[in-house]
Symmetry: C2
Subunit: 426 residues, 2 copies
């Protein structure tokens, strides 16, 4: 971890700057795969699965039987844990349902909004060694609450053609049955374009490697929208004298173990806390299976001593972290200082892992500085909000002249006529 | 208008399909202008303004004096109209403020969301012959309500180097003072990258021609987000026997006058209404200044006779219109049939012009089929919603085992440790 003590504010911009990802152009590869899927549908998916995942599949769809078998392969404990997490995520996302409010703008003029689910959504769950079944909950639960009619889940098979049972159990728990053993660019292409087996969708959610990220970007050319732009995961921990160094170290490490490009930032006003935390990182690191990954991330991480919490919040707002942990006394008092962050964790018992899995908040969050202009995934992400207006004859009379004048001012005569013709009649 | 009577459902997909825009590649031009602005800032802006708008500017910023002068040039009537529209738009958007709701997920675990304004936003107002001062209200009012700290407005000058006074008056009314006389690609580049005079922003809003649209897309490569993907404006009018042909015709024409590529769709269950509406279109068209434009749009438009309102809603939901007008009896009863639309107008007195200018709803809406997966601009568009969680020691104990099991299942040991270390201590 790079340590900086009391940097001058003129140096902050340089220090806060995130490393730029090397822009490898994957465009041609992505384009080719999309074209292949467009032309050859399921055949192309099986071809790419053989090529990239090294497994020959006859059937892309996960059967009822496979779902039942998976349930038996997950321990009772883990099943209960998944159910508890699901319940908490559901409770928080249910609270985001917006009640219809009819607003009387003026007598005879009513306006309101109504939410409608995006009819068809696609959820991408990466494969690899560590099965992200928590993401199935984070994306599946709000999709179900919203009432999306088609929820497609794609996840790559292992080299035995199987999906990790915890992923299947989590999907079953949420009530998702359209599950397909396909991953990578071809999965995104299938969800964007549709194949014989996989229905095309209007919006694609889910994390992935650089190929999947590039494929999601490309899918937008087919009028598919996506959840968020992607980037390496990040945490900023802010600590004062009330922080527990062991806890802070554990939070920094849980971020560092994600990947070598994970962003780990530690800001503190207390030099003693800084030193003790560094010791704790050193100690706790040794016992981590993903030690080497965490070490790489830490090499690119920053520990900064600042003069005050005010400075810490200023730094944090410029950085706009994906996860913001406030290991500070009376953390709640400082909430109004927060301008940019994905999700915030208050106090010594609100570790990031809680939000990652089971507190109820969504772990699909804006990273890479996108916390400045994007929200994390929520129930809203699965809805369109349609506006409605109903005017009576009297209501139109109240604003009729206004509309006529404005339409005339914008030289849109037919817009004006549409009002005049109604005002004239009895 | 192309008339189709009782088309077979097998032919619908083909009939509902929107014309594909010819994809002209503007990428190189956009890239060059962005590079020019990046390297030469204000100098580049003045250079492009001379080249594209044919006017030499010394000063890009609209001065206080110019704002005051503009006010005098707008008629009292139009000023009052703008003020009334502003008041209605404000009332509706104020109603979208979300109250903070702290949810007790389990005892000792609290989660909630808070809205924070996107700090810096850019509003693009196209120039040309018809000044879209209504768009200043539609974008400026929610930006102000949200509390965006920097609101930058860019609009191209005419060949005398002036901005239309109604645009300036509307901006002043909203309280926007960072107004710049620059348009086109260079304006988008200035807002994405920043220059000596114009501050860069995090999100860009506003309509524009294909150059501006392409520039907004490109701006996303610089981590700027945008309001909506663009497309030609469109209306779908649904009418039964209770509709007034003259009113329906006026609504179809107010859409047609926007541009030759405007989409105008008319669905009805009543052949008499169909014929009378066609007659009315013919009559009303003759008196329109923008007759030639409207004619072109109508040549590409569709009038369809269907058997029932159920069929009409089915068609409409597949098409996903930007504006949906229900000229049907007891329109409110049919609202639950609507799945995809940008904004809906109920009954014979809710003409689209009302929503375009002054009912209170926002006229920046998803078009080109994007009503399937995007909402129109609202107060939400100017906010980030940040999630918060606060766990007590007891709260963490309640889900601690769940988090440990899930983290372990995902092979993220440090995530597990961050909980274990807290559960272990006293």
């Amino acid at each position: 971890m790079k340590i900086i003590k009391y940097p001058h504010i003129n140096d902050w911009q340089h220090l806060i700057k995130r490393p730029e990802n090397e822009k490898v152009s994957l465009h041609e590869t992505i384009k080719d795969v999309f074209l292949g899927v467009k032309n050859e549908g399921d055949t192309a998916l099986k071809k790419y699965t053989l090529e990239f995942d090294k497994v020959a599949l006859t059937n892309l769809h996960v059967s009822e039987q496979e779902l039942t078998e998976a349930e038996a392969l997950v321990s009772t404990e883990l099943k209960q844990a998944i159910l508890q997490a699901k319940s908490n995520i559901e409770k928080f996302h249910l609270s985001q349902i917006e009640n219809k409010k009819i607003i009387e703008i003026q007598p005879g003029i009513q306006c309101w909004r109504e939410s409608r689910a995006i009819e068809k959504v696609g959820l991408y769950i990466p494969g690899g060694s560590a099965p992200l079944f928590s993401t199935v909950l984070m994306l599946g639960v709000p999709a179900k609450i919203a009432g999306c009619k088609n929820i497609v889940l794609c996840t790559p098979p292992n080299n035995e053609g199987k999906i990790h049972p915890a992923i299947l159990f989590a999907a079953k728990t949420v009530g998702i049955t359209d599950i397909y053993k396909v991953g990578g660019v071809q999965a995104i292409a299938a969800m964007a374009l549709g194949t014989e087996t996989i229905t095309s969708v209007y919006k694609i959610f889910g994390p992935g490697n650089q190929y999947v990220t590039a494929a999601k970007q490309y899918a937008q050319e087919f009028k598919v929208s996506i959840d968020l732009p992607a980037g390496p995961s990040e945490v900023l921990v802010m600590a004062d004298s009330s922080a527990h160094p062991a806890y802070v170290a554990s939070d920094l490490l849980s971020q560092a173990e994600h990947g070598p490009d994970s962003q780990v930032i530690f800001l503190t006003t207390d030099e003693e806390i800084l030193n003790q935390t560094l010791d704790e990182i050193h100690t706790q690191l040794e016992n981590l299976p993903r030690k080497e990954i965490a070490k790489k991330a830490l090499n690119n991480s920053l520990g900064v001593l600042l003069y005050s919490l005010e400075e810490c919040f200023h730094w944090s707002n410029i950085y706009a972290p994906e996860h913001l942990i406030l290991a500070i006394d009376q953390a709640k008092k400082y909430i109004q200082n927060i301008e940019n962050a994905g999700s915030v964790f208050l106090g010594n018992y609100s570790c990031e892992s809680a939000g990652d899995y089971a507190s109820g908040t969504n772990h699909t969050l804006p990273t890479h500085g996108y916390a400045r202009n994007y929200s994390g995934v929520s129930l809203d992400s699965f809805f369109k909000k349609i506006t409605f207006q109903e005017l009576t004859k009297e209501g139109l009379h109240r604003i009729g002249n206004t509309i006529e004048l404005m339409a005339e001012g914008e030289e849109l005569q037919a817009h004006k006529n549409a009002v005049s013709i109604r005002l004239r009649s009895n």
